[in-house]
Amino acid sequence: MNKQEAIANELEVLNQIKASIMDRQQQTTATHSKVHQEILNRFKELMFDILPSYSWIFIDGHTKNYCYLACEDQRFVEQIRQMLHKFNVPESFMVDNNISFQGRCVNSIADNNVRGVRLFATDPKALIAFAEEYKLDVDYSNKTKHLKEELKLFGAYL
């Protein structure tokens, strides 16, 4: 066997090793992704258990293209912060197709400067349905206030 053949053979062996490593990497990445999703699912489950223990405020976005439920109870904020950190879960994630969770918000309620968390949606109906499903204690007075403002435009005063 000449020198060129010897090197070519070594290259082939190395190439097989590389292919095998890539294959294992892909398998590990796929499993990693599944485990991560499983963590997120468990985390949501855990969070849904806690949500009804705290009070929430319904906020209508200024542009009316979004709305959210805000919680500024610092016990909950701190508890969630610790859990997010402990289980290495992103600070924001989708709760379902319509609602996202935002775990670290300053100004969680418009015009204040308090850190809180939000359950955010573009469709108020979806958010209200979610609040009802999980039996959340929600203060809708802000919504009522907003509705009153809107009705004023039509000459109705409540």
């Binding site: 020198k3 060129q4 090197i7 070519a8 070594e10 290259l11 082939e12 190395l14 190439n15 090793i17 590389k18 490593i21 890539m22 294992r24 990497q25 590990t28 990445t29 499993t31 990693h32 485990v35 991560h36 499983e38 963590i39 468990r42 985390f43 489950e45 855990l46 258990d49 806690i50 402990k86 289980f87 290495n88």
Partner: protein, 153 residues
């Protein structure tokens, strides 16, 4: 809080951390293997280069770079086969000398090209590895440069 879920989360988190660590280890090994392949590929190329003839070409007039070109289609074919097999199409022959197969404009055949931004280094490389190089174009280049100073050879 639901203790069962917390326990499950702790276990899953541990599994994920282990996986992350394994992914990092695999990435490091893969990088090492690819580096080793690059070294072997370069050695193989240099061995193959010694059996063919090369033509020296400056990258452009008055630029310091240059390349060696080889039109030998047997060599080109062999290199193509190796490249397809091992998935490497760019060779690093030394820190400032690289290798690749190229197309010339308007020519369907590829050619082998050893390139360097430093023509002197390329000359040294050719000498060190006993490459058969036709430096005619280098002489032509020198003649052109000298003609600027009124020297005509």
């Amino acid at each position: 809080m639901n203790e069962t879920i917390i326990k499950e989360l702790e276990v899953l988190n541990q599994i994920r951390n282990n996986m992350y660590q394994r992914e990092q280890e695999m990435a490091t090994t893969r990088t090492k293997v690819i580096g080793e392949m690059q070294n072997r590929y370069s050695s193989l190329l240099i061995e193959m280069f010694q059996n063919v003839s090369w033509i020296y070409q400056p990258t452009a007039v008055n630029l310091t770079g240059a390349f060696l070109a080889c039109e030998d289609q047997t060599l080109v074919k062999q290199i193509k086969i190796i490249q397809e097999k091992i998935g490497l199409n760019y060779g690093v022959l030394s820190p400032s000398i690289s290798f690749s197969l190229y197309w010339r404009t308007g020519n369907p055949e590829m050619f082998a090209r050893i390139t360097s931004p430093d023509a002197n280094l390329l000359g040294k490389f050719a000498k060190e590895h006993n490459l058969k190089v036709d430096f005619t174009s280098k002489v032509e280049e020198l003649k052109r440069e000298l003609s600027v100073f009124g020297v005509f050879l």
